[in-house]
Amino acid sequence: MDFDTQVKLTVYHHFASTARAPQVAHVAAQLGCSLEDVRQAYARLRANRVLLLEPDGCTIRMAPPFSGVPTQHRVEVGPQTYFANCAWDALGVPAALHREAVVHSRCGQSGAPLRLHVGTTGPESSTWLFHCLVPAAQWWVDLVFT
């Protein structure tokens, strides 16, 4: 397995087990490499649209579907509460973890709360809708806005 894949999996498994982004030092310790090695891998993973980083280049903002910062899309899985980057990623968290979850979010217009149970084979029946303003061809132009 190449180094960038090892870094990516370390990041993702840390998110999965803790619901939070790992520090660079944690990833470096796990892989027995330097902080600079991890930073360089992060930059390549960003270039390949795997991670989205803060301007410091070492803080993970997004490892889709996981968010490194609090958002309006919370996903409860057992005792853990994950933050998702968007409505799509809110369903992506249980899909990635293969676990039942409860998604908490809200209507983008009215603010009405959404509480949606998601089983391992899909969400409960719901009349709520998903709307994406940005076309697929432009998603990574500004992923935070998307």
């Binding site: 397995m1 894949t5 999996l9 993702y12 498994h13 999965a16 390949n48 649209r49 795997v50 889709p64 579907p65 968007c86 409505a87 799509w88 990623d89 809110a90 369903l91 992506g92 968290v93 249980p94 899909a95 990635a96 973890l97 293969h98 979010s105 809200r106 209507c107 983008g108 217009q109 009215s110 009405a112 959404l114 949606l116 998601v118 899909g122 969400p123 029946s125 719901s126 009349t127 709520w128 809708l129 998903f130 709307h131 994406c132 303003l133 940005v134 076309p135 697929a136 061809a137 432009q138 998603w139 998307t146």
Partner: protein
């Protein structure tokens, strides 16, 4: 990428921002998209889908509009 309680709420949201409403996605479709995108994300072999695969994923859940095409000229 937001949830909305109804189509009326989407229309109001778009009108308030002066933007064009985009294709609406039902929750069951969104789940299929989430599975296609993320079900293998924690596995060593996981990778981002390429443009053709992305088109197939969206077409597979009934989303054939150019809006979902990652290389659509009209949106690039």
């Amino acid at each position: 990428m937001l949830f909305f309680r109804s189509e009326d709420q989407v229309q109001a949201w778009c009108q308030g921002r002066g933007v064009t409403p985009r294709p609406l996605v039902r929750m069951a479709q969104l789940w299929e998209m989430a599975v296609a995108w993320y079900a293998t994300r924690l596995e060593p072999s996981a990778r981002r889908p390429g443009p053709d695969e992305i088109r197939r994923i969206f077409a597979g859940v009934g989303l054939n509009d150019a809006f979902w095409d990652p290389q659509a000229d009209e949106f690039a």
